[in-house]
Amino acid sequence: MSDTASSPPASRDTEPATLEKTIRRRRQRSSSSLFAAGEPMVWLTGGALVICTAMVAGLLALVFWKGGVTFWPLPVIRVETPVLEDGGSQVFMGEVTRVDTFRPEQSVVDALPEAIARQAETQLRDRAGEAERRLFRTGNFKLTQNHFRWVTDFEIADEIQPEWALVIERLEWGRFYGFPEAFLELTPVAGGDADQARAIASGLTATDGQEIKLLDRRFENGAERDVLIPVSEAGTAHNLQAVALVASGPEAAWEQFGEHRDAVRDRWHERRDLEKFDTGKVSHEQEQARLAVRAVELELSKIEERQSAKSAAAVKAAAKLEQARTRFAEVEKWALAEFDRIRIDIDNINQQNAKFQLLMRTAGEGAIASETTLIPLDQIVRAYPANRLSLGGKVGLYLARWKEFLVDEPREANAEGGVYPAIFGTVAMTLIMSILVVPFGVLAALYLREYAKAGPLVSAVRIAVNNLAGVPSIVFGVFGLGFFCYVMGASIDELFFAANLPNPTYGKGGLLWASFTLALLTLPVVIVATEEAVAAVPSSMREGSYACGASKWQTIQRIVLPRATPGIITGFILALARGAGEVAPLMLVGAVKLAPELPIDGIFPFVHPERSFMHLGFHIYDVGFQSQNSEAAKPMVFTTTLLLITIVASLNLATIWLRNRLRRKFASGQF
């Protein structure tokens, strides 16, 4: 192929004998040297591409697979294994989350009871000394102090998938696995009075399948437990709690649960809104009034430093202070009344919700046969009989979990619930960053390329900008903390938020400072991309513009910039991708583990760029390496990663779409 180029041009004129020799030599060369033909290079470059693609695709596949299956409901399995000490059975019930093959030591097998040990030995012989074990998510942490349990296959005496095994996701304490025993509708009995209980019981009418019983709290073997007793035994009760309409049996309990569930959940949401918005607003008013007083106090003390207390300014300020104090007292009074009102509302809701409880029985944990636990309905986020679900039910559950993940706030130190504040924080920060970095970067690049005269100074600036791109991101974080938070933020605080001191307002990490820091970090990308794009506009077009009498700026504005826009947007995309994926500097300038308050809310001035925020990247680090229940958190890491990748990809896609539109526009407008 390329051989013709390298052969001497004189060869055409040479004599036939020499020509033959040349051809032979050339043939020899091409067959002896593959490199000369270029074939290996095709393989090398192609191979490199394949490896890159495979790695990226593999990573994405892993994230998509692991992140995608997290929310899929698994069957609940109940296994019995022999217990070593007292010969009784040990029972575990839960979802299998992982399977592992290992080589058990002989001592492990020896420690098993006789019959099981023989079973284990046969199994081990069949599998060449290897055994399989499964990790069960057993939940019920409050009872067992464990979330997960390994069970080796050869230990298992019995394994079933019980029909009525219920998985309950709770607001607190993680999951509960058990059987629904009864559904209770309670009427509280004040002071545990037996006569009153009887009176209430006689006033209640039980519908089909319901019984009237009493709920008694007993203290047995050093633990409190709730027991249902017949009404006739009211006199023997230890500590009477309530009269209960009881629907016994899993089916009846589940049916009743379904009936009341939505109403309870709605009331719970209502309560949360009351707590969040109504109370928040009142407290905010209160805080504002307090700050107003403090501000006038500061003003007064400043005046008194300079002038006597009797000067006109001081008297005026003192009057103002008096006014502010009166207003503060008024607000205080109003706030107290408001709080009382909200509290009564909340108490009402709580009382209504506390009526409904689910009595659950565990499958028997450890050495205990089984335990019963009352779970209030308003503590239940979601409950489902895992082994009875149809495919449609599973899909519905899967989607419902995704929805919770996307729109809810985190619970239980970020291990459960959703990541909405983190999504909000990530997107808000990335957008503010782009608003800051693009105009600034484009202007700087325009000066460098269009106005500045080439020389050592411009080269130095260019080198500096390029080097800036190579500075480790944590350095930007340190700079952001030192300059934006501690210098700029502290000055802003002193000037405008003095009443709040010593609590910093802007003098700490926050959304604004994080965006500034990342804007700085991504600035070189935008400058370099813009310079390239501007340089690529043919100078003939500029000269044409000048020939028509346009000024320099007119030329830039009308001719250069429009044609450079797609290139500038490419730089913008690169900056976006880099900024959204950056975590290290954010840890210093505002990303925190928990900050449920969004930077935009319904309280004046509606936008609060000084607030700390949550970020998906930091959330991944936090959930992956800092959560207490790391086994349960691991799948969440993948899910959150999947989400972050999706967000970054969709931001990029949106920009690419914009660029393509612009490109089309200018492609037609060129002539």
Binding site: S283, N503, Q628, S630
Partner: protein, 327 residues
């Protein structure tokens, strides 16, 4: 200073359900008050400090936010050593620490404010030595001297020789030649400091200790390494690791890291929260109520939920009296 003797007393008073029907179930002291909401609480809870206490602070803050929805919450937990500077700079109002403040940190605080910060004993942790779940050492146990010989190059505990393989630590069979792989925390961590002082007898760590950024990553490291051993708070235990019973001296009975044996366990410690309280002045409502919540029944239930041990009423009363709160 917190002495081990205090912990023993604490544990004796601690209402742990050792003989109840449910083995391992931890109960909160019944005498602790139930939390009651008051008015006039506003502001931001800003906590900077220990990683061990990170989840605990977050859970308390979540509870507090339920009571006082308008309160803002910001929690950072990158290590105990980050707590004193933040308290001194006024960037935080709570400084959770898994070790006591060093004299130097105390002095710096005193230089700025003229008085010392106050430590509140919020809960009890048993610093556990973790191994892979298949490791038989979890049954046999280790003495502190052996732990020292594993982790430390200086061996101030007095073990005669270095322990580099599991055979050196007393295991036989396949384990005898397996080398020990060490996991630990980074030096900003209070757990690092506590372990150095009490398990390494103030000696130095070996260079081969793999320093991890969080308690959970120590546990995860050990979980995926058959020959691994590491240390972390008890709250971070998973099903993939086992805790090693520890003996104070070689030949003593090894005490398991379980709630029942907190009084005898050699590495039990209080988890502290430092506050900046001016002597003779009451705490502001925000901090007062937050501390009250920590020492209520609900607050101590949270401790159990996070895998640590609750404090008794007596300790709660005493430690709260230190910051001028009466329960």
């Amino acid at each position: 200073m917190i002495k081990v003797r205090n912990i023993a007393a604490a544990a004796a008073a601690c209402a742990l359900l050792a003989t109840g029907p449910v083995a391992g179930q931890v109960k909160v002291d019944d005498k602790l008050p139930t939390y009651e909401t008051v008015s006039g609480v506003a502001g931001t809870i800003k906590s900077v400090g220990s990683d061990t206490l990170n989840n605990l602070m977050t859970l308390w803050a979540e509870k507090f936010k339920e009571k006082y929805p308008s309160v803002q919450v910001e929690i950072e937990g990158k290590g105990s050593s980050t707590a004193p500077p933040a308290l001194i700079a006024g960037a935080s109002n709570f400084g959770p620490m898994s070790r006591a403040m060093k004299d130097k940190e105390m002095d710096e605080f005193e230089k700025k404010f003229g008085y010392k910060p106050i430590a509140v004993q919020t809960s009890i942790d048993m610093l556990a030595v973790y191994v892979h779940k298949d490791n038989p050492i979890a049954k046999a146990g280790l003495s502190l001297q052996q732990v020292d010989a594993m982790f430390s190059a200086t061996r101030k505990g007095g073990n005669s020789s270095d322990i580099g393989t599991w055979g050196d630590a007393g295991l036989s069979g396949n384990w005898a030649n397996k080398s020990i792989s060490l996991y630990g925390r980074n030096s900003a961590s209070g757990t690092y400091g506590y372990f150095k002082k009490h398990a390494l007898f103030k000696g130095d760590y070996k260079d081969s200790v793999k320093e991890q950024p969080g308690s959970s990553s120590v546990v995860q490291g050990v979980a995926s390494d058959l020959g691994g051993v590491g240390y972390s708070g008890l709250g971070y235990k998973t099903a993939d690791v086992a805790t090693v019973p520890l003996a104070k001296k070689h030949g003593d009975e090894a005490i398991p890291a379980s709630p029942e044996s907190v009084a005898d366990y050699p590495l039990a410690r209080f988890l502290l929260v430092y506050v900046n309280k001016q002597p003779g002045k009451d705490l502001d409502p925000l901090r007062r109520e937050f501390l009250k919540l920590i020492f209520s029944k609900e607050g101590q239930e949270v401790v159990v939920k996070d895998g640590y041990l609750p404090v008794s009423y007596d300790i709660a009363k005493k430690t709260l009296a230190g910051v001028g709160i009466d329960i």
